[in-house]
Each structure stands twice: as structure tokens, then as C-alpha cells.
Symmetry: D2
Subunit: 359 residues, 4 copies
């Protein structure tokens, strides 16, 4: 099994990049939740290609058609399903991929696993396009969490090696509204340099990756469980389901592993009648359970494997080395478009926690 | 739900640090697999406290008693269960924790979540002691994977800020036998410095953390699934179930997010009649599916929250600030003992993959 | 959560009777399985309304559109999704159901559970129409099982109180080809009487129920697991997911509970080099595991709750008694159409067993 | 996987009849629930052998030792685990079962599935003894449901072909206190005849089966979900996990399939300000969701396969027919002891529903 997530909610993602449609089914949602389709569309547009200078040439409007689960603008308790029709597919571009796999893509392991029956067109089920239905589900969960006072935001903390500094996001009292809307960084100067980094990679027929920091505020104390269903485990399962994510840490994470306990422990104090911490190295999670402080994690996005530069590959039929130049226009950086995807993944995981702990 | 893991196998961990016993049930294991109890005990001893100069004073022999699932040295197809009796418990040390939570521990969120009914003695169910039954399950899975030609090893790549260098582990052809047995590093000089770092922290009443790199060799091509049941997701769920893990990345991971695509893509070539990659930035996983190259991941372990230094906390009953000095002897670094735990977690996840893909 | 089934395969059903579409996602299916769409359509037609004299007046062609998972007539390893557009909906018929619930339908508990937000049109998500996507999934599984030598059939064993006798199906060597294709019984005389029973109920503005016997032949020895994932449990979970099923037993089942052990035990013997039983009271399952004999179960279908006769109900807004006459044309018996649905449910459960035990 | 049940709670059963111990782990239980161990022991005693004239000679005190999850008489939020040590095992009685399987037992399919590695002593993991840990879990759930006003009871409705009549249990307003405590029937005269039936079977070296009717009162309206997680599906999964259960129906069940809709529909009326039904043919469930009426189901228990009479079997090594006489003392009827087991199974399923719907 592959494309199903959740404990109380059950999210199932389906579709291939160049098949008839992509879509999702979201089961386990209570009845009576309002659905703001305009707000959802605005969220989906943040992920869509073609809405900034750096994205792939393929312009698809990610306009979901809801097939079930919503009546008169409210959830009806039945599974919610939505599809997005694929248009403008160019399936003839991909005929060679079963023999000569692209480095950094799933072509080779998919060819072995699926014995040549996989859908290679546009990356098939492995395509980043599958993040569109993820964003439908996540955009809905994000709306519903806001009704509970839980907000989720994300910014690019590193791109092309350039950090979103010197303005770090405050982990204790993060201001999500400080994140740029055109380009999701805190420091526009850093953002401009990042865009230069993308342009430089593009000019070289190359690509760049980055790190996305995601923050959720408004979570109460006590959600999650110890061990394998801790909040870290639940978020990790879905965030690692996003193509191109190769790293994830929470709070001080990898950095914190270089510190001493006295530096990494978050000291408690009373503030306005509540228990808070002076720092938030824990990223809002201790023992797998929320602390009431902002939930903070960083996801490492690998540089897009599709590059124009010549690469070394093999012919699987001849079993000999074979150079490869991938044709077509390439997206030199998916990190900006991945920002809402990471928010969506977080929203789904947190809404599942809410359904279990918060109702 | 909290302490259950797996898709084909089902691992359930139970117990509290100072309760009558800790244990595990491992369901879904085929009949007829041999159990080498001496080898298992040797593995458990690597995790046990008191077997090196840096561990906690509490010395417990982690001698599992098998209650079911094994007959005459072979699995019988029924669930395997094993317990370890707790001895030498000192429950009176922990009476104050419900009122005055220790920074960096789960005390505060647990107090809210469980309304004061949680077992605070020795950390209860949140204790690192729960990694002992994890190691029983993982030690068994490790034995069985070796019969399939799959070996798992791990070393400390960073501890107290000191890296295991200049001898990096070769991700393409890793030599697991090069890892030290007394202290699991590749470079004994670095290992000695790490131990100095632990001693220095101890002298300061403080603690240190680190990073563990884990490698599995011998995995075939094609295990795992796209999206939420990808190999990264499955490993992440169990590794984040290990207390103190706050970061995880695969292959080049966070480092790779600073690279360009041409640097991070693993170029293919034919070698000895097989498809291999020249590098292994992917850590052996593309699209959630194994590539046949070594599976490599790094886990960030936070510095032990138990420190002797005075800290700031609060009284939850009085809702006022209250200084805290945690009594008792503290383990200034759990990273060396966590190495077999990370191996165990990897072994369980990979054996579950094997049961689904490999039989 | 509600509408998801399976251990290795994951089936998700969505849609409401009068919404835009109904559909299903079937995840976890291996790549390379052929899909015979004509054969599937013929199977779906057995369930469709309007194909015999006794079904509802609503005539819908259950023509599935596949959105994903199938490329060039073969499964590609990605989730298979298919939808059926709803046409000819008459949503204005159902406006009163939130206030005055129909006896025997889910109206009342749904009104409380979903707080009035449920989709009442045509029964919404509770409609028997949801068995169409179940038949898409089941029809595919049935095809694939046949490639493995496993055949599934079902007949009406009781309808309107009339038994399909004196020709009982032989449980030890069942001849599935003896089942009628126009009306699925073994004895056409009994079938004719059953149809008279339906006509009589219709004339009275009433309805009738019945019992369906389902048989799977060709299962090997050793599939399934003891206790909660036994074959009985797995089949029960999906068969009870079919609306109107209120009873289920295996082999001699309820009848067997009146027998003595010496009558109910199936004696072993060797026949043509294989271990077989002289009888098949166990219905092909012992200890939750297949015995290699035909798998046999009976499902009790309650009489259709939609009847023309006046009934007693209540006004939920006024909280007072209120007589109810349900308008519209009613299907006096769904049992014949439920036969392929029960086959579909069995096929899905058995294909899931095959994926776990048989590959 | 085999021996794990539940959606919010997770029950894992382990052990073999003649292994060191049997036990269970019950995960997902909220903290702060009181545990009445005397009441639990009284419940377990109802299942224990040797407490009436008709049970097996093996007398074991089912005294559970709790290893985790309970502190000072209250649940602490961590997984609850308990074991029962096996004593008085007679493993040498079972040496022949791998070659010559007993009719009606799992010996033959287990031998094929587990390739001879299964634990045959006393039935191993297939033994009815595994219902003892099920009763630990169910006895706890039963206590906790009573705190929520939900009571569960069961009686023998048929045994040795004798019905518990003419006093039927009233499905609309059942009086659970009318069930006998020494022998769980409503009509002591019928109970006496049933015991004669057991004695007669015993005298013949034979065994008898029966039907158990289980009722839960106090369930609110609206628990459960449509389709595969309906209340029927959830109860079926666990009830079919009880060895010897071969049939299950709800409310009028199989009988109802002979009725007309007008007879089987439960008409609504207002009574004391609540919506109730005049009859309860639905057994308290419509569309998979509770109606607020008593939940009623019947479980068919097959006659004990262990009988003294000579039977026909085969030698699996010689692949030839071989007569079999099973040695030892046999329990001619397990139905009375199965009554609390069925109650336990119902309690576990209903407590899982409560955790999802009722908190």
C-alpha cells in the first residue's frame, strides 16, 4: 500500500501526472464544517506552476471538482473526494525512461518494482503534480484548524545556500504575518538573493534545493502520544510523503544535537497565567506530545533532479553505460512551490491530531 | 494509541521505567525463523546502562524472558512476547515531578494530558528504558535480516560537537566492520575526543547530544511504496518513536539541500553486471523505493535533558515560578547507548518491508 | 473513519446517491495485472437497476470512468480510481427525511450523528448505490483471482421465505456453473416461486429479503491468521459493510451450532494425493485459516426498508408521533442485485488475502 | 498479522496454551480510569475451566499479573499489559498432531501454514485458553462502560438444540438481571435441559454447540460509521476472533431475512421525550450506526471439535488415511464458558466506539 495517510481521518491520493485526472479522498471528517472554496483556490494557486518566474512552463489551473462529501458548502460526514483533470499532457516526451533512467528520479527503482508497467509519463504517480490533491486536503484542514485558533505558516529558510537572515523567525512568538506573500521569506533582501540563485542555476542548466521552516501556533498542551504515534512520527510520515523531502527536524533539531543540555532545555516560567518556555528548542513537542508552544519543523528539499546538463545513465535493456540528456524545459527550483505543500502536510497531520485529541 | 508500529509485523511496546516489567509483543512473524538468544543478549548488552564509564549508575541486566512465540529455538508463527523485570527501582525520587516539571522532559505535557494519573517514577512510559524492549524486537529482526544478506550498522558521527572524522563512512561501499565495538566510531582518535567531551559535560553537571549515522547494506531494488508508505516515512515513524530523537535525514539530507541538482543526483553506471550509482546522495531511496544502494540515514539525538545544573521551572499547583535542581546521578550522554537502539529501529522497519516485499 | 477496507490493498469508497459522482480508489494492487473492461462491465450490469422486472425504476448505466492506475489495459502499480457520474437524480423527493425518519433506514441515527448536515438525497452515502463502486473493485479482484485459479460464485439460497431446494449446492465439490445467469438460483422452479414472492410483496406495497450463499473455490491451504485477522473476520468486515446485511455465517454456521461435534467435524481423507474433507461444515476455514476446501458463507439480507405501506414515524422537530407514507416507486427486493455485490465483497477480501499470503 | 484489534484502542493478545504465559496488551486507554481487580477476577472466573460440572478437567486460576499501565488502582495512560502464567501443562499429550490432524481443529491448516513449526501443545495459539487474556481486556472495558451507563450481558439462547424458552429476552427493554448467574439462561427449566444435553453428549464421547445472545444497553444514538467501519463490522471482526464462532447476526438477522419489510422495519414513536422504536429488529444498528436502542447480536458456537469418539484422519507424512482417537478428557460443551468471552468481545468493540465517538 502506498498513498493513504491518517489515523482518524484517512487521506487517499490517486492519479498520475499525465493520466485522466488526479485526486484525493478524505474520509473521517465530521459533518457541518464549512468549506470556503475561494480560500481553498487561493491556497492551491500558491502551489500551482506558472505563477512565478521560476516555475515549470506547464501551466495548469488546479481547479478541483468536488464529487462527494460536501453539500451546500458544508461537509456532510461522507468521504470528501475531489479531482483535478489533467490537461496539456505531453506523454510522448517520456518514452525512453523505462530503458534509460534519469538520475535522482524514481525511474530505476520503479522500473524494477513495477516490471515496466509503471506509468512513466510525466513521472506518473511519482510526479510532484500529486502534491496538488495533497493541497486540496491540506487546504481544507488548514481552514478548519483556523476555526479552532490554530494557524500554520511556512517560509523558505534556505534556498540555493542562501539563508533567510538575519531575520530569524522567533520560535517562541512567531509572527506568521511577517512571511512574504509573493515570495515566502521573512527578509526580502535574502529573498532577492535566493531568486538570483535560482536564475544562476537555470542559466547553468542546473537546479537548486532548500529548506522550508513550518510553524503551527495555537496548539493546546497534550496532543499526541508517546513513542510511535508521537507528533514527530505523525508529521514525519506525511512530510516524507512529499516528493523531494530528504530531511526533517523539529525545533533545534540537528543544531540542538551540538548543544549541551543546559542550552537545549527550554526553561519554564509563568506568563499571563500560563506555563510557557523561554526558548522553544523542543519545537513544541516533548515526549511526542505538544507543549502548547509553537510547533516548529524544518524540511530539507533536495535540488530538483530534472536538469538540462548531460548526465551519466545506463541502458537497462543493453545493461551498458549510456549518457543522458533530459529534454524539455525544467523547473530549476521547486522550493517556493513546495512551501504550501509543506503547510498542507502539516495541516493534515495536525487536523488528524485534533480529531483524536481535540473534539 | 501510542506504542504500536508496523504494517505486516505489529510491534507493541509496554511498560514503565519503575513498574513491574517492561516488554514487547511482536506479531506477524513467519514460523520457522531461528532465534539466537546469545547473539540477542550481546546486542541488548550494547544498550544496557552500566557497561561503560559514561552511563547512568542504575545497572540493570536486560535479560528478556520470552513468554510466547518461540518453541525449541524457532519462531512458531504466534505472536512473540518478551518481558524484562524491573529491579532496583527508586520510585521515591520522583514525587515532586507532577508539580514542578523538569525542562526538556515530558513531565509538563504528560501532566496535562494524563491529568496527573501518569506514572512519573523514572519517567514512566517516556523513559529511555522503553528502548530495551525495542531492542529485543530489533535484535531479532536484525538476526533474521542477516539470513537474507541484509546487514545493519551505525556509528556516532557527531558527539559533543566532535565529528567522527576525517574518516567518513563510504556511502557507496560502506565497511560496517570498521565501526569500533567498544565505542562505535570509525576514528578512535575522534572517539577519544568525544569521550573527553562527555567527561567535560559531566564535570559541569551538564550533558551533550550527538548524531548517529545508520547504514543498511544488502537491500534489493524495489522495496517500499510511493508517498506516505515510502521507506523514509516508515523509518521516520519508528526512529522518531525513540525518545530524544529530534532530527532525521536520508543520504545527503540537509546537506544536499544546499547543493545543485548536478551535485546531488547519483549518476548511474553498470558495475559487475549490476546497475549502481557513483555516489549515494539519495541514501538508497528514490521515490520512497529502495535503489539497491546502501540505505543511509542520520538521527539527531538531543542532549540528555536530565542535568545537575539548577534550572528554571514552575509550580503547577501554585502557578508561580520555582527554581529546580534535579537530584540523583545523571547520564551525561546517551548517544553511545542509543546506537544499538537506532539499529534496532531500522531493523524493525526494514524487516517489515521485507515481509511485505521480500518473501 | 468509515469507508476504507483492507490490509495490503486499501479500498476507499466515496460518493452519495444524488451527488455529482460515486467512485472508489483501490490502492496496493501490483503492477502488470490485465484489466478486462468488457468483463467488468458485464459484472457491473448484474448489479445495475433496471435489468430485471423487480428492480427500482431508476435506470443508471454503471459505466465506470477510470481516472488512474491503469495504463494500456494493465495496472501500473499506482492507486486505481474510477468514478461513475450520477444522472437522473431527483433530490426534491427527500426533503422531509431530516424531520420524519423512515423506519429501517439510517435517517434517524444519521440525523443525530451528522447534526442535520448529512446528504439525505437518495440515501446519500448510505444508499445501496454505493455498492456500484464496491462492484468495480470487486469485479477487478474477481478477474485477477481467476488468473490464480480462484473462482467465486453466489446464489440466492432463500428469498421471500422460499429456499433454493431441493437442489442444495454441494459444499465439497460445488458446481458454480450450475447457478442460473438470469436469476441466480440452482433450481429454476424455486427461482420462479421466489419471483412470485417478490411480485406478491410488490402488490402489497411491501418488500422481501433473503439469504445469499457465496462460494469460493481454488483457495490453497494456509491463508489467513488466527484470531482477529482470521478469514471469517476479514470477510465479515467487508460483507457487513454492504447495506442491508444483518447476518453472516460460515459453512454449517448457525445450523452447525445445533449439531454434535461428531456431526460437525469434517473427517479427513486422502483423495488424488491431496488432503480433503468428506464434508465441509467448516466452510473451508479452521482457526481462521483456509483448509483448501471451498470457502462458503451465507449472508442474510433484510427486506428492503423502503415500502409503500403507511408506517409510524415521528417529527424530530416537534418531537411527536407522525404517520409516514414514503412516496416514489420502491424496489420490493434487492436480493437478486445483491448477489454480485456479495461476490464482489468476497473477491476483495480474498484478493487481500492473496496479496498477503499468495504472492 | 493476526492477534491485534481496534481503531483507537489497540488490543494485542499473545501466548500459547502450554507456553510460559498468555497475556494481552491494551493500548490507547485514557488515564485516570479506576480498575476494580476484584470485579475483574469475578468476571474472569466465569470463563475459567473447572467452575462447573461440564468443563475441562484442567483447572487453572486465571489470575492476571498486571505489568504496566496501572498505578495505584488507576490507568496511567501507558499501555496496560497483563499476563497469566500457564501451569499444569501436559505437553506430551500432543506429539502426534503434526502428522495426524484432528478434525475440526486448526491442526491441518496450521501444519501447512507454519510448516511444522507451530506450537501444537494444547492447541498452541489457537487454544480457547487465549480467550482468558481477551477477558482481561474485555472485563476492564466492561467496567469502564458501566461508568458511562452502558451495560453488557449475554445468555445462552440455544444449547444442544434446546432453546432458552418460552421466556425470550425482550429486545426493546431487556432485563439483563434476569439472566441466571450459575448458568446463564433466562429460563432455569431450559437451563436444566441444556445441562442434560451436555451430559448426554459427554456420555456418548461427543460434544454440543449452541448460540449466545448478547445485549448492550445504554448506547447513545450515533456511534459507528457507514460501510466498513459500521458497528456490525467492528463487532464481527472481534467476535469472529473468538475460536469456535461460526455465525453472527444482529437483531432479527437470519430470521428477519424471511420477513417482509413491514414486519422487519422498526416503527418510531416518542416515549418519555425520546425517540424509540416499537420493536428492535435492527438490533440497535441502522446504516452501521447505533440507534439508541439496545444493541443485540447472536453468535453461533460450533460443537467442541475435541471428542472421544473415533474419527477419520490422515497421516500427513505417509499421505494415507489413518483412524484417530483423541486421548485425554474433553470438554463436551464450551458454550457456558463462552458467554463471558462474547461479552468481553462486545465490551472491547463498544469501548473502542466510545473512545472514538463518546468522549
Amino acid at each position: 500500500m502506498s498513498s493513504t495517510y491518517g489515523e482518524i481521518l484517512k487521506l487517499s491520493i490517486f492519479g498520475q501526472s499525465h493520466g485522466p485526472a488526479i485526486g484525493m479522498t478524505l474520509d473521517g471528517i465530521p459533518a457541518g464544517l464549512p468549506v470556503d472554496t475561494e480560500k481553498l483556490q487561493a491556497f492551491l494557486n500558491r502551489r500551482a506552476p506558472g505563477n512565478n518566474a521560476f516555475s515549470t512552463a506547464r501551466k495548469e489551473v488546479d481547479a478541483p471538482e468536488f464529487l462527494s462529501g460536501i453539500v451546500d458548502g458544508y461537509t456532510c460526514g461522507a468521504p470528501i473526494s475531489a479531482i483535478i483533470r489533467n490537461t496539456n499532457t505531453r506523454s510522448n516526451d517520456y518514452s525512453n525512461l523505462k530503458d534509460c533512467p534519469r538520475p535522482g528520479h524514481a525511474d530505476f527503482p520503479a522500473q524494477i518494482k513495477y516490471k515496466g508497467y509503471q506509468d512513466v509519463a510525466g513521472g506518473g504517480h511519482f510526479s510532484g503534480r500529486l502534491t496538488a490533491p495533497l493541497c486540496i486536503a491540506g487546504g481544507l484542514c488548514k481552514q478548519w484548524l483556523e476555526r479552532e485558533g490554530i494557524r500554520i505558516g511556512a517560509h523558505i529558510s534556505v534556498l540555493a545556500g542562501i539563508a533567510d537572515e538575519p531575520v530569524y523567525l522567533d520560535w517562541v512568538n512567531p509572527n506568521l504575518d511577517a512571511i512574504g506573500t509573493d515570495f515566502p521569506v521573512l527578509n526580502p533582501v535574502a529573498g532577492a538573493k535566493m531568486q538570483e540563485g535560482i536564475a544562476a542555476a537555470k542559466a547553468d542548466g542546473d537546479s537548486v534545493g532548500g529548506i522550508i521552516e513550518c510553524i503551527a501556533v495555537g496548539l493546546p498542551v497534550g496532543w499526541g502520544d508517546p513513542m510511535f504515534d508521537g507528533v514527530e512520527s505523525k508529521i514525519a510520515q506525511i512530510v516524507y510523503g512529499v516528493p523531494a523531502v530528504k530531511g526533517l527536524d523539529f525545533g533545534s533539531g540537528f543544531t540542538g544535537s551540538y548543544l549541551r543540555g543546559s542550552q537545549n532545555n527550554d526553561q519554564y516560567r509563568i506568563e499571563n497565567g500560563s506555563v510557557v518556555t523561554r526558548t522553544n528548542q523542543a519545537g513544541g513537542i516533548l515526549g511526542g506530545i505538544t507543549t502548547g508552544m509553537p510547533l516548529v519543523f524544518q524540511a530539507a528539499i533536495k535540488p530538483t533532479p530534472s536538469i538540462a546538463k548531460p548526465q551519466e545513465s545506463v541502458s537497462l535493456t543493453k545493461m551498458e553505460n549510456q549518457p543522458l540528456t533530459v529534454q524539455g524545459r525544467h523547473d530549476p527550483c521547486i522550493v517556493p512551490r513546495a512551501v504550501p505543500v509543506i503547510e498542507a502536510a502539516a495541516a493534515i497531520a495536525i487536523f488528524d491530531l485534533y480529531l483524536k485529541n481535540g473534539i
